[in-house]
């Protein structure tokens, strides 16, 4: 039976699938950390954990690129590298929790289940850009602060639930036993707690502090 099951998934492109299943979600997960520009970087620092943005920003200072497209390519790659680092570490923890597969497959499991959070990063980037574009739009600072806090909060809550669902369903799908599945879920909760503790999300206080500064800076331009 096991042989039959293996044959079902044997395809000439299977190796590529396995490789891309780590690479593409990993890239989408991390690229948001490197995409900030000089106008939005402070906002990114309060929405995402500041040290992750700082690492990506430091990597961006290592190479001086004049072409804007190449610079953006390098910036997203810097963010993606930080993302891969995070996935490799979380993958290692997940590998011990899953305990039934090779590290590369634990890494695929980690990377695929992080897709909801990768989508969340994408939507948070959009929110950040929208807030930045609204700064000079005549809206009051109270309205902007409310938008800056409420929108990311609802996005984060929704995608965290989707992440938990993805972990549970994916573990069930790949035959992780009932007890271990709870540990997988706990690992996910632990990761989210750590991510929040590092500074994911923006508080009203942070928004009230950063937005007037950005507004003033934009006024000077």
């Amino acid at each position: 039976m096991a042989e039959i099951a293996d044959k079902r998934y044997t395809t000439p492109l299977a190796k590529w699938s396995r490789l891309l299943e780590i690479f593409i979600p990993g890239y989408m997960f991390g690229k948001a950390w490197g995409i900030a520009n000089e106008h939005t970087v402070d906002l990114y620092r309060v929405i995402f954990p500041s040290f992750l943005i700082n690492i990506a920003e430091y990597m961006k200072t290592l190479v001086d690129i004049s072409s804007p497209s190449l610079a953006r390519f390098y910036a997203t790659s810097a963010g993606a590298l930080v993302g891969f680092g995070g996935i490799f570490i979380l993958g290692l923890v997940m590998h011990f929790v899953l305990g039934d597969r090779k590290y590369i497959d634990s890494l695929r499991f980690t990377s695929i289940t992080l897709i909801p959070l990768a989508v969340m990063h994408g939507t948070l980037t959009q929110v950040t850009n929208t807030i930045f574009e609204s700064l000079g739009g005549g809206e009051t600072i109270e309205m902007l602060t409310k938008a800056a806090v409420d929108s990311p909060r609802s996005q984060i809550n929704m995608f965290c639930v989707f992440y938990m669902l993805a972990l549970w369903m994916m573990a069930k799908r790949t035959g992780v036993s009932g007890k271990r599945r709870w540990f997988v879920l706990l690992t996910g909760v632990g990761f989210l707690v750590a991510y929040f503790a590092m500074g994911l999300g923006i508080t009203t206080m942070e928004a009230a502090e950063i937005l007037p500064k950005m507004m003033a800076a934009q006024g000077q331009h």
């Binding site: 699938s17 891309l20 039934d100 499991f109 989508v119 989707f162 799908r173 035959g175």
Partner: protein
């Protein structure tokens, strides 16, 4: 005039093709004028072709649908709101697009027999939604190009957020059969065209549709590739390029992609583009691998008659008989398999009691009953 099924398809098909050309000329040439009647030609044409088995035996019922574009075209020509602004040639083409099928169908009779099984209500709803969304998409897109503004961004924003982030978690790839304009074009028009497709896919690419875990329900091997590699690759360059070249605000960017997808759909066999290369389908597919609600396949009831064979019925070429007890994550909830199945209770909305009992027994004993395909292979 006696209208056979082929004739019925030809009438609707050619009216649609002419309407598409008139639409493209009106929107993309310096004319910059769209006859509203054309949008209703799309609606009537797609609805007739999507329900051809059920409307071909009743040509007069179909003729009623074709009266809509005729009435709208005449109304817009004589209405003081729009009167005199349109291009006379486009008016004439639009009028003929609606009038010719209407006259042919209303004066015709048919000996085509109705299918034995009544059309599933859910499929009727689906085809109406599909045709209506195509009309909405065509109208907002034409407005964007004629007026030079971007109301279509609202369409794409709603389409994108709902299809990518929210719907896939609950209903899988449902938007790939209910909403996508390219899917409607393929299901309605391209499926009914018999020209030789210039692009033939390599066997390795086609093999993915039956050998990735996303296409097979039930427990998957931990080493199993989950997604087709080509779909993952289709997803990446689009969003990569969008970020690198800062194209989120570019007017032409989403248009190039949807028109590009439509163009490549013409070159490939039915739905192959959706299954292996569409970046939107990929994005949804990737987010739907754990979708919560699925169509149930009650394997213990299946008679293995192969009527539901993947190449003819399923838009994503899912081998239904290879499934465990439900459709896999890649299912787009078009319900075509449910309609194709000649037996009651095999493909259903809910799992039936016998299947529940089998699953409970398997969970208790740990002995999993082999699937018919596996038994054959062993």
């Amino acid at each position: 005039m006696m209208i056979a099924k082929d004739t019925f398809v030809k009438i609707n098909k050619w009216a649609l093709i002419v309407a598409i050309f008139a639409y493209l000329i009106g929107v993309f040439s310096p004319l910059k004028y769209l006859q509203p009647g054309l949008l209703f030609v799309f609606f009537a044409g797609f609805l007739c072709l999507l329900n051809k088995d059920y409307l071909a035996p009743k040509p007069r019922a179909a003729a009623h649908l074709w009266m809509m574009p005729v009435v709208v075209t005449i109304f817009t020509a004589v209405s003081p709101l729009t009167g005199g602004n349109g291009n006379p040639l486009l008016f004439l083409v639009t009028l003929l697009c609606g009038l010719i099928p209407c006259i042919m169908l209303v004066t015709g009779s048919s000996e085509v027999k109705m299918p034995k099984r009544p059309r599933l209500k859910i499929i009727v709803v689906r085809t109406i939604v599909q045709s209506s969304v195509f009309v909405i998409w065509a109208s907002v897109t034409s407005y964007a190009f004629i007026k030079g503004t971007r109301p279509d961004l609202l369409f794409w924003a709603a389409f994108h957020v709902s299809t990518v982030s929210i719907f896939p978690v609950f209903f899988g790839r449902v938007l790939c059969s209910w909403v996508c304009p390219n899917a409607t074009l393929q299901d309605g028009l391209l499926k009914n065209m018999t020209y030789k497709r210039p692009i033939k896919l390599h066997k390795a690419i086609e093999a993915q549709s039956s050998s990735c875990a996303m296409n097979i329900s039930g427990k998957a091997d931990a080493r199993a590739p989950l997604f087709p590699a080509t779909l993952l690759l289709a997803w990446f360059p689009v969003f990569f390029a969008e970020t690198i070249f800062d194209l989120t605000q570019a007017t032409w960017w989403p248009m190039v992609f949807i028109y590009g997808l439509m163009f490549f759909s013409i070159l490939m066999p039915w739905r192959k583009l959706c299954t292996y290369f569409c970046f939107l389908s990929s994005y949804r597919g990737i987010n739907c691998h754990n979708s919560l609600w699925r169509i149930r396949y009650n394997r213990s009831q299946c008679k293995q008659c192969k009527v539901c064979s993947a190449e003819k019925v399923c838009p994503f070429f899912i081998d239904i008989r290879n499934q465990d007890n439900e459709m896999p994550g890649t299912c787009c909830l078009c319900f075509s398999c449910m309609e194709a199945c000649p037996f009651e209770g095999v493909i259903t909305f809910k799992r039936n009691p016998a299947e529940k009992a089998r699953l409970t027994l398997e969970a208790k004993t740990g002995i999993i009953e082999a699937k018919p395909e596996e038994t054959k292979a062993a």
